[in-house]
Symmetry: D2
Subunit: 421 residues, 4 copies
């Protein structure tokens, strides 16, 4: 479907100094990570480049979000999305362009999840597609999203009237750098990333002296029993053919060994791959937590506060087949392996869901292929190839960067009709 000549012509714009300039952009972004909803510098750079390339640009979307629109004749609207926020991780890569940035409170910051690469690739692809607009028709949208890590940025942009302001896309495309060999693109249809729901739960008891439990409602026992009961949600309430996780990663109560506290708090982190399972998990948590409080005779019911909610990331079947075919035609099938579903989560899917449009999300290999191959042989992939969120995570600039740019261009052109010359 895509026209290799058109892609060739457009990608020609990346050769030589242009790639060097993009690499410099990447290093600059990497050196200047910004936390969720604070991506002002990053957003400014993205917006400036879009404008320079001829896009109409809307900024401040949902806080720091940026949208660029390039209307280029009749044809579908294709949205390409990148996320911008960094993580509170102390960089340990030792790279010359390693981050030393911190928040005002001194929390270290690092682009440990590769969003700098996402921004760079999309900036490059937008520029190339704009420069080569005589080879295609339609409308190109570039979305630079804040706050992906806390599942809040996509929602914020949408709630800020994104599609009212720039139009509704016919397809939404996105990519994420993963610790797979650089040069590969991982893509599969269907559910590829889990939905994730997190909540903080306060369990109320009644405190007192440690020697007089009968005058208290012990919140430590309540929390412990709740944690044990919550184990039965996955073990008994979810089909073994479904994929689900319920993790209580935090439990806190008490300040002194002889004083029974008034309350305990736990967090619950749920992962699921279907709306039904998600509903089962959410309902079970609420049921168990309330019943356990009742079993303790708690003076008041627990409070469940949502921390974040990542939607399920689902690649549309037809749209994914189209992108995959375009990738295979461009890069060769051997560079386009299937992407195994991950329990990790994204808020990318919200754009397509809100638009009522198909969306496709693929993986961009970023690991040194030799290192990867050796680690795989030795069964040490997890140990030797730093994964996302690791303080050692650092995509290999080449060929990751040009592959990511070319993937976006190729995928976009799978929808934007070519112009015969």
């Amino acid at each position: 479907m895509s026209d290799q000549d058109a892609i060739d012509a457009i990608m020609a714009g990346l050769s030589g100094p242009a790639l060097g300039e993009l690499a410099e952009l990447y290093r600059d972004l990497h050196r200047h990570p910004e936390p969720a909803f604070e991506e002002k510098r990053t957003a400014g750079i993205a917006a400036g480049r879009l404008r320079a390339a001829g896009f109409e640009v809307v900024t401040g979307l949902g806080g720091t979000g940026v949208a660029g629109v390039l209307r280029n004749g009749d044809g579908p609207t294709v949205a390409l999305r990148a996320d911008m926020d960094a993580l509170p991780v102390l960089e340990a890569t030792g790279l010359p362009y390693a981050s030393t940035a911190t928040t005002p409170d001194g929390v270290p910051l690092m682009h440990a999840c590769g969003h700098d690469m996402h921004v760079t690739c999309l900036s490059g692809a937008a520029q190339l597609l704009a420069a080569g607009r005589d080879r295609w028709r339609g409308t190109l949208v570039a979305l630079f999203q804040p706050a992906e890590e806390i599942a809040a940025g996509a929602r914020a942009m949408l709630d800020d009237g994104l599609f009212d302001r720039i139009g509704t896309p016919d397809v939404v495309l996105g990519q994420h750098v993963f610790p797979n060999p650089a040069g590969t693109l991982l893509i599969s249809p269907g559910e590829i990333l889990a939905a994730a729901d997190s909540m903080e739960i306060r369990l109320y008891g009644r405190g007192g002296h440690g020697s007089q439990p009968e005058r208290t409602v012990d919140p430590v026992v309540l929390a412990a029993s709740t944690v044990m009961r919550l184990q039965t949600v996955v073990s008994r309430e979810v089909s073994p053919f479904e994929r689900a996780v319920l993790t209580v990663a935090q439990i806190h109560a008490g300040h002194k060994e002889n004083v029974i506290p008034d309350e305990a708090s736990i967090t619950v982190n749920l992962r699921s791959f279907s709306p039904e399972v998600r509903r089962t998990l959410l309902a079970a948590v609420e049921r168990v937590v309330n019943a356990e409080a009742a079993a303790s005779g708690a003076p008041r019911p627990p409070e469940i506060r949502t921390l974040n909610a990542f939607p399920l990331t689902v690649n549309d079947g037809d749209a994914t087949a189209r992108v995959r075919e375009a990738f295979a035609g461009r890069f060769g099938s051997e560079r386009v392996p299937a992407m195994a579903p991950l329990m990790g989560s994204e808020d990318f899917g919200l754009f397509g869901a809100e638009a009522g449009a198909p969306s496709v999300f693929w993986g961009l290999g970023g690991a040194d292929p030799d290192l990867y191959a050796r680690a795989e042989r030795e069964g040490r992939l997890r140990e030797d190839v730093p994964g996302n969120h690791s303080p050692f995570f650092a995509p290999q600039l080449l060929p990751t960067l040009p592959t990511g740019v070319e993937a976006l261009v190729t995928a976009a052109l799978a929808w934007l009709p070519g112009v015969q010359r």
Copy 2:
């Protein structure tokens, strides 16, 4: 208060053949144990002897209960109580008069709790007091109660109008043979035996194939979580200065390893020494059981069925002091030690509670004193001296029997005013 001359005169009736005859009665009763509410033969013997001694006799009280009344002039009414039922235990004493009796279903029966001794002593004391009625004034009541072991007989007699039919006593006295040295009488004021409440609880789930837990509500998990939660009742809800036990002695669910059953059942056995603690325990069981069912999403709430309920046995302070003093005057203080409270239970206390009269319950030593002394020296009391309900339980006939008779006579005369001669 009691008059040693009067007791001497009355007890003179026990010498020689009379004691032999009573011993024969004991051996006969021991040979013919009858289960709860089936004590027809025992009741018949007791009633016959009361009639022969001049008592007015009411039979069939609450089934098989017997009450004898001897009105002997002005004065208080003193009730002496014995229980009659045996236990489903296969006797292993090897005694010449050991039981070989069974129920019609073949369940072995044994007087493993000494109720045969209680009946014998009361029969003897009633006979002696009747024969010596010129030495005292007032009304003597002899109560032979069925079904003590299942906490049902006292209630049944009372509900059958006992006090309407024979008058309300001013004091109720009773004794129980224990594995203490024969010849001793154990007595203390206050709470001496625990209240006990037992219930069976059916926990409803929804069954299904073992490979499809998500289509079930697993009652095994529900029962297990309930058992664990019930542990917190004593550990957290009862003051350490109180005495309480909550035992789940039975748990049953399932018939096949790959079929999740529809329900589970547990029993709960509660022991307490105060009405407040008892209420705490009962309320906590109900609260926990219902909340745990809710935590499981049970299709219907648990059913809690009372199995039995033994009241707290409380010795009235003044009345106990009076009996104790009478015993000390008659037997010497060294033969009247304090009785440590026991977690075991009795329904004796219901008579006094219903009458609004004080009641006193004491222990009658039944163990071979030499055996007891040796076992105590060697720290092997529990191992070497068979306790109540053991298949080896066998009070030593002498001096247990005459001591038990004399204790009843002595205690009765502590209330019945002497007649000067």
Copy 3:
């Protein structure tokens, strides 16, 4: 690969009276269910028909197993397998040929899992292939296995020297009737049925009176805590991308509400789809059970007794593709849907594993297609279409029976080279 002419020629033998005779065989077998390892009548019928068809026959294999061998020139050895045992289910189908059989103890028996259909189809296919032996070359083996339901029959035949006595097959084929539309054949490569391991675990405590827990080691608490802890195996130790079940379907302890028993017993039923997960589950059960006993201060360690162990059923990729292609060519693709993996289990896989040969196991639809279609529309498949082990389970004779025969013939001929005529 298979030759439609050859199949046509062979299947021609089923027309008319031959099919009627097979249907009568099915009804006869249905009327006479026999429990595991007691399949004497069934085995006798199978063996007799094999002999009549010209097979060399070995009987009494592993008890009641039967193997027939038909050597027909050079070529591969193809084994077809059927299982023979019935279930302790009281038939409720209301069919004219419904079972009224029982074990000597009065336990009702029913072919509630369709093994009568398996035996009939294999008898028919063996007869047809023998009659048409001029259309193929090689060796045909027909295996009639006892005791599939208790995971013991395949093992017993193999341990009895099956392959030493009849030779080792190059491929093993089997089918199972399922509540899918009659006329369809369900087939997929890979893991299609779970491995299942069941065990009974005795947890030892130390009994005593319910009022004296401190003198006991309470096995009810031990069992409850063990059940709760076992929930964490699936919730915490198995990847959400794996399929696993751990069910405790039985828990039993105690006989009286006031007597803490000496021990408790539970059963554990494990389901897994990979050897690694299976090892994880088995190791976790052993670890948890022993540690929980230690936490209770148990007087001796638990005893874990294996009840049964079903292997994972894995369809060989190439062999399954070959069978599927043969089915599609014979029945049309629309009648050969994929078979979704089931958590249920089989011991069929042991034959191929022992032979070192690929094996293929497919589903044979047995439900009334109209009933099935309506139920599917109404979302009432589970409610309206009786499944295996249901007292209402009854494959529709036509077209289930001839489809099952033809499937076996077709699959066998996918290996047995045709003879040109």
Copy 4:
């Protein structure tokens, strides 16, 4: 035994200005609370007053402890003990002399347990007894102990050679102000305060991402299961006739809702009234904690670190009878009620234990008697009368202070033989 004339003569020294001066000392101490082992100012004041009264004084005992010895002829050695440390409580009494002190770190400090009253009373009694030394013979020891609140000060003084340096007492006496009516002295023989043992337990797991529990050993589940299991120690392993508490008042694990942490920590606080029960509790905690770690497959065993250990406080029978009789003779029986045992704890008992001497510890009422009486009538004692450790705890200066002084004098003279004049 005690000589009212002698007491009268000695107590005469307290009238008027002397009492005013002592009251001023109390207010000064109250204004200047010092934490455990930091009682330098308090110790200096106590030592100075002892020296001024004629005592030989040893300071710096076990850090900040002070001992004064007054040798006054033949006769027994009587030790009187007071503790000096304050608590990290923000005073809320509103008193003119309320504390505003803090630690260098800003933690507020308050004499919320009345140790200021203990120091004042002992200073006064020591001074009076020294001044009146012509009325008695023997040796008087005044002990001012640091760090009672953390169960460390008595041990520290003893380990610093206390009795080697000042001689071994024949009896050790101490008092503690309680929220009972001022003017009363509470005293009973036997176990009056519980032993308390506290420990921190680190439970080791292996952390990881919340979506991959199978790659972790979840310490939150381990901690929860441990807490539930620890409930069974009191519910199943301690006789209902014993008094025991096991409280887990702190549980902490995890920093982020999607990151399973490496470890969890809990604290355990044990209370007991007999060495046997204490041993049972300690052994059970160790057993349960280790077994639960094993059940989780923990990478390394838990670490149990003792936080503090308070001994059982046992009043010697004979010595207590002697003090009680002296109090009754001096104050009248109605002002000397029995002291009910408390689950609270003290390290006072270590002195007598180390000395091999009897010890007696009594309660000194400090509450406003009118307030107390009204609260008692209304069943609001706990709500209306501030207890020890409350930010509102404030003994009523009169008559608490002179009663406390006179109690010490009276108790001391119950041992020190009078001198006839």
